[in-house]
């Protein structure tokens, strides 16, 4: 059994949300540089050039890559031999978010009530936290701040087994096509298949944070990922939707077993400023 004071969680979260918003992950950067070289249209090239220059400015000046610094989403793997002491687990995470968003000059983008009042909570809390108990005595925290523009273009569909893989692929491609320039393409496309209604959406979200080029370990799903990426990039939506070769940088599928009657499929889109940062305590 290992004791971890929750103040360690607060400090880790504070640093993670700031770093995730200032520094673009290297795999995304490399992929956007490649897209810049590949594009031939003038507007696509100039947009990608601005995006790359923006990475440099963010890093140098510690200014957020995007003004939408997102809702603070955390995937936290907790070793089953860890014992948190010194306070409440969720409060500690939220305190880290509060400190990070205030001290890091990040935008507070949450309203207290979704429909009636919509008053800003002023400190970007509450965070969205997905804890999971795993073997061991370590804690892994992945911070994945998620902007509203791409999230709004996401969808869950309860499909039929008879729809088959063709049906799934058509749904994914159609979702990206309908989204056009709204989710800030080039996008990352996260696809969750199976589980149940909400698990498919969670799988789609988790899929977004795989590294560029890292295919599904199942060769059949890996092929589908590649085919989907080709189909999506043939749509011609391009950077910011103004036309071009690069509509998506990647398509990632996560799947799991599901009920004999069901085939839930979720598509979660992320913008070209796909931010994530992790730490192990």
């Amino acid at each position: 059994m290992r004791d971890i004071n929750v103040s360690e969680l607060t400090n880790a979260v504070k640093k993670l949300v700031m770093d995730a918003n200032y520094y673009i992950p290297k795999d995304i950067r490399d992929s956007l540089e490649k897209a810049y070289k590949d594009e031939t249209s003038q507007s696509a090239k100039s947009i990608l050039q601005m995006i790359l220059k923006n990475h440099d400015i963010s890093r140098e000046k510690k200014m957020p890559l995007c003004q939408d610094t997102g809702v603070a989403v955390f995937f936290i793997d907790i070793g089953q031999d860890v014992h948190f002491v010194g306070g409440d687990f969720e409060d500690a995470i939220n305190e880290g978010v509060r400190q990070g968003y205030i001290e890091g000059y990040l935008r507070k983008s949450l309203v207290n009530d979704p429909v009636i009042h919509r008053v800003n909570t002023k400190d970007n809390t509450p965070a969205i936290i997905y804890p999971r108990i795993v073997p061991g005595e370590k804690v892994k925290i992945v911070a994945a701040p998620k902007g509203g523009g791409a999230e709004n273009m996401s969808e869950v569909k309860m499909m039929k087994a008879a729809d088959g893989i063709e049906g799934v692929m058509d749904f994914v491609v159609e979702r990206v096509k309908k989204s056009g320039g709204n989710p800030c393409p080039p996008v990352i496309v996260g696809v969750g298949i199976g589980g149940d209604f909400e698990m498919s959406a969670l799988l789609a979200k988790k899929a977004l944070f795989r590294n560029i080029g890292e295919r599904n370990s199942d060769p059949e799903y890996a092929e589908i990922e590649k085919e989907l990426l080709n189909r999506i990039n043939a749509l011609g939506i391009g950077p910011m939707g103004l036309g071009g070769k690069t509509t998506a940088l990647e398509v990632f599928i996560e799947y799991m077993p599901c009920h004999i009657a069901s085939m839930p499929v979720a598509v979660n889109l992320n913008c070209h400023a796909t931010r994530h940062k992790e730490i192990i305590l």
Binding site: P64, Q67, D68, L235, L242, G243
Partner: protein, 187 residues
């Protein structure tokens, strides 16, 4: 595709020469507003009340900036998605608004209102928020401070980079840019 440097407020002769795909560097005063502020502006017009800024020839930028760090006029300030303002934009255009800056396609109603009123929609690069912030010279909240990041701000900008996405002739770069790509691919 041409490149222009324009000063706000925009005049008809500025807008008449703009075509989709043109690069524009805007300088002068622009105003910020998102969904919540748009609702209030449109309510004021409906009630026959005065707006917090002169809308004749004005340009509205759809943005909710990040807080300014010490020594900077504004924090990161890239565009938000424009379709959420589509229900309000035609009323503002009919009252003299000449330009909008945002990201993503507009509805037919907004495009028709742009043609009707000789107005233009500029696409800024979403996610290039730190870069765009550097073109902001000064920022001042002029209305709806209670909305926080969504308040109406008066920005003075210098060479704010954008692309003409909808011109006053009814052309739509979100449609034509994609169609051109598909056409090229098939040749």
């Amino acid at each position: 595709m041409a490149e222009y440097r324009l000063e706000t407020p925009l005049k008809d002769e500025d807008i008449e020469k703009l075509k989709i795909g043109d690069t524009v560097y805007l300088s002068g005063v622009i105003y910020t507003a998102r969904d919540a502020a748009h609702k209030r502006l449109v309510d004021l017009i409906k009630d026959g009340k005065e707006l917090p800024f002169d809308i004749k020839g004005a340009v509205i930028y759809y943005v909710g900036p990040a807080p300014a760090k010490p020594g900077y006029p504004i924090g990161s300030a890239g565009p938000t998605t424009s379709y959420r303002m589509d229900p309000y934009a035609p009323v503002l255009l009919d009252n003299g608004l000449k330009g909008m800056i945002g990201k993503g396609p507009r509805s037919k109603e907004v495009i028709d209102a742009m043609v009707r009123n000789k107005a233009v929609y500029f696409a800024a690069t979403g996610g290039a928020a730190a870069l765009i912030a550097l073109s902001v010279v000064s920022a001042e909240v002029i209305a709806y401070e209670d909305l926080g990041t969504e308040a109406v701000r008066k920005l003075v900008v210098k060479d704010f980079p954008c692309i003409v996405a909808n011109d006053m002739y009814g052309n739509d770069m979100y449609k034509e840019g994609v169609e051109q790509f598909i056409k090229r691919g098939k040749i």
